[in-house]
């Protein structure tokens, strides 16, 4: 008897599923088509992590959210997409199932081979990648790359950090010793040393982009060594910022604004302003203008910006930072100029040489400047 009851409930359940399946199969494919039919430009944005990570992905998602408000645009988003064949399938799904004509695959590892492969397969779709080194003649015309010179902001971070540090020891928590990261570490250190040349920057590499436990350990270990200001270059600075606040030291943000996480210790932060390249590329796609394959910009072009100063930043420091900021906004400031030695004593930029931000040599940086305690 009881077993009959069980069977009956199973049958009911099966029926329910059958009905659902039928509804799925017969249901109108309307919503699929509607996206494309409305003659809206469908823009697809793909994130490697969660959209609300207070970091790399959130910075991109903020721009995507602003895009949604533009007329004639509809945005489809997918988060936590690994840099495997998964991202190829996600790009293809956005194109085939959602009708996307412009894609923003935002993680560095999406570029080669995934995005290049899809770009070949879908030559009429525009692929705009964040940070990839797009090369004329080598990469397809329907692919391109946008990126910002955020080391300018890290230099300003450095000025703020150098101004408040009492121990003259500041810290940097980084994921991997790759050129983009080294450039930030060096800019941060140079900024701090412009305030006081005796300042040293203590560096810890965690080994990967999102390792919250190691990031917390690294922050704690830096504090224990006497470091009193930290910043970082990992996908989500959340853990570093929160740990620094808990330990009562100062912190400079990265990627997005993290001031809410550290109301006391947040000095300022290096933020992306991706809306600038997003708007540019989306408008071009809407108006059918040629695709800009390689776009870069710093503070002047509005690709990056600073978080508002926190309470802890003294007036004198604000003035100094603002003065440098103003020069950078004019485009006349060079962060990397000779004579510059690395932390083994070797001259890496001879006296008399000053690199503009657009200088390709800077995108191949493989050294740490004098004053950084750590090794590549």
């Amino acid at each position: 008897m009881s077993s009959d009851v069980r069977n009956a409930s199973r049958r009911t359940a099966l029926k329910a599923l059958g009905a659902a399946g039928l509804a799925g199969a017969l249901g109108p494919a309307a919503s699929l088509v509607s996206l494309a039919q409305a003659k809206k430009l469908v823009v697809g944005v793909i994130y490697v992590g969660p959209r609300d990570d207070y970091g790399y992905n959130q910075a991109q998602a903020q721009a995507a959210a602003a895009l949604k408000k533009m007329p004639g645009i509809s945005v489809v988003e997918q988060e936590k997409v690994p840099e495997t064949q998964d991202v190829q399938k996600v790009m293809a799904s956005m194109i085939e199932q959602d009708g996307a004509a412009l894609l923003f695959p935002t993680s560095f590892g999406y570029f080669d081979p995934h995005m290049l492969k899809m770009a070949e397969k879908y030559p009429n779709v525009r692929f705009a990648h964040c940070g990839g080194l797009w090369t004329e003649g080598k990469h397809p015309k329907n692919t391109g790359s946008y990126f910002g010179y955020i080391d300018e902001c890290q230099y300003i971070n450095g000025i703020a950090a150098g101004s408040v540090s009492k121990s003259k020891k500041i810290g940097f928590i980084a994921a991997k010793p790759i050129p983009q990261v080294l450039r930030n570490i060096n800019a941060f250190t140079l900024g701090a040393k412009s305030v006081d040349p005796k300042i040293s920057c203590h560096l810890i590499f965690t080994g990967d982009w999102a390792l919250p436990v190691k990031e917390a350990e690294a922050t704690n270990s830096l504090v224990d060594q006497g470091v009193d200001v930290v910043t970082c270059h990992v996908d989500s600075p959340k853990v570093v910022v929160e740990t620094a606040e808990r330990r009562g030291i100062y912190v400079c943000g990265y990627h997005a604004n993290q001031s809410a996480l550290a109301p006391k210790g947040y000095l300022t932060g290096a933020e992306w302003n991706w809306l600038t390249p997003y708007t540019l590329l989306t408008k071009d796609a809407q108006e059918g203008k040629p695709f800009k394959n390689f776009i870069r910009g710093g503070l002047k072009e509005g690709y990056v910006k600073m978080s508002p100063y926190g309470k802890a930043v003294p007036e004198a420091a604000r003035k100094k930072a603002d003065a440098t900021l103003a020069e950078m906004k004019k485009g006349t400031y060079t962060v990397f100029k000779g004579p510059l030695k690395d932390n083994t004593g070797k001259v890496v930029i001879p006296a008399g040489t000053a690199y503009l931000q657009t200088e390709p040599v800077l995108e191949q940086m493989n050294y740490l400047v004098e004053g950084v305690v750590g090794s590549v």
Binding site: L17, G21, A23, G24, Q78, T84, G109, L133
Partner: protein, 353 residues
């Protein structure tokens, strides 16, 4: 005589199929309730899951691509399990197998691509196999718990992999994403003919069938299962227990190593941190849901691939977070595992003998 003594109309094979399917249906209903609670229309959600995972050729390719690596990594768990071992080293064997394949593919560049591919496959399988065989050997000869050691072996493998990729084997041209030297376009595996899914799917299915035959229809397999049932008795019966265990571990590791080779040969063209994508860990889940049955691994992998594929659809259309499909996955696995207790207890499936 038709149903006598309360016997059912359906046989045991129907039981093996219908109970998990019923459980899945239950999970879908639960998930529908959950969706309704957060304000989504369950029917729309079902429709999108269907569209995202199975409704078209494109959706099937999406699903099967995601299933392919899981089939191989699940075998790495299911094979040692036949001998009673709980080995979870898939991820480590995968990354080292991939690394071996990348080294071979690059260093043999210029030779006949077929030879190179074969060498990559064999190299990846050998390294992956040895890695997991080591876990088996540690347990048989040193009494080290294989679950713990295999977990630790993953950390060692990943650290070793990262060190090689970012250090001695790094291609200096790979600036912001440290990788080994590319194996070259000629040595890539490509997709299955007429189907946008890479060769890993075919390798996985063939591997499953071979393992099934080996385990269920050979004396070696019988001996292995005896070891799994009662190692003491197997020893008393004169079976070479340690050799059987280590061999099973080797074969399992070879499956994962092959998965790594496919990742390098069909997807990335080089070895880099993208290989550490968690396929090994998901493989553990697959093997357990498949109750360590090599054939059942295939549909379970497809199910998981389908859930992952439809997850994208839910995110893009309904603006739901990525965690939504994890809820569905969790519900599906809980109901499937809970439904296991129903085996042999439903009248309909009882045989008459």
């Amino acid at each position: 005589m038709p149903p006598a003594r309360g016997g059912g109309l359906l046989g045991p094979s129907a039981e093996a199929l219908l109970i998990p399917l019923g459980a899945l249906a239950g999970a879908m209903v639960l998930f529908g309730v959950f969706m309704a609670l957060i304000g989504q229309n369950p029917l729309e959600v079902y429709r999108l899951i269907w569209r995202g995972a199975f409704a078209s050729g494109f959706a099937w390719q999406n699903t099967l691509s995601r299933a392919a690596p899981l089939i191989l990594t699940a075998l790495c768990v299911a094979l040692p399990a036949q001998a009673g071992l709980m080995v979870i080293a898939s991820e480590g064997a995968l990354v080292l197998g991939g690394l071996a394949a990348a080294i071979l593919g690059h260093s043999m560049g210029g030779m006949n691509p077929l030879v190179v591919k074969l060498a990559m496959a064999l190299g990846g399988m050998a390294i992956g196999g040895l890695w997991v065989a080591l876990v088996g050997a540690l347990r048989q000869y040193r009494g080290v718990n294989e679950t713990i050691s295999s977990l630790l072996f993953i950390y060692i493998a990943v650290a070793l992999f990262n060190h090689m990729v970012e250090g001695p084997l790094r291609d200096p041209a790979s600036l912001n994403k440290p990788s080994t030297h590319p194996i070259g376009e000629a040595n890539m595996l490509g997709a299955l003919p007429g189907f946008d899914v890479h060769w890993g799917l075919a390798f996985g299915i063939v591997f499953c069938v071979i393992v099934y035959v080996l385990v269920k229809h050979t004396t070696w397999g019988f001996a292995l299962r005896v070891v799994g049932g009662n190692p003491r008795a197997a020893q008393l019966a004169g079976l070479p227990v340690s050799r059987l265990v280590v061999t099973a571990c080797f074969l399992g590791g070879a499956a994962s190593g092959l998965a790594g080779m496919v990742e390098v040969g069909a997807v990335h063209g080089t070895a880099n941190a993208s290989l550490i994508a968690g396929y090994g860990y998901t493989g553990i889940l697959v093997a357990f849901i498949a109750r360590q049955n090599p054939i059942a691994i295939i549909p379970v992998s497809v199910l998981l691939g389908g859930i992952a594929a439809s997850g994208g659809m839910l995110q893009r259309r309904l603006d739901l977070p990525d965690a939504t499909v994890l809820v569905l996955q969790g519900m599906a696995f809980l109901t499937i595992l809970a439904a296991e207790t129903l085996f042999g207890r439903l009248k309909a499936f009882r045989s008459n003998e």
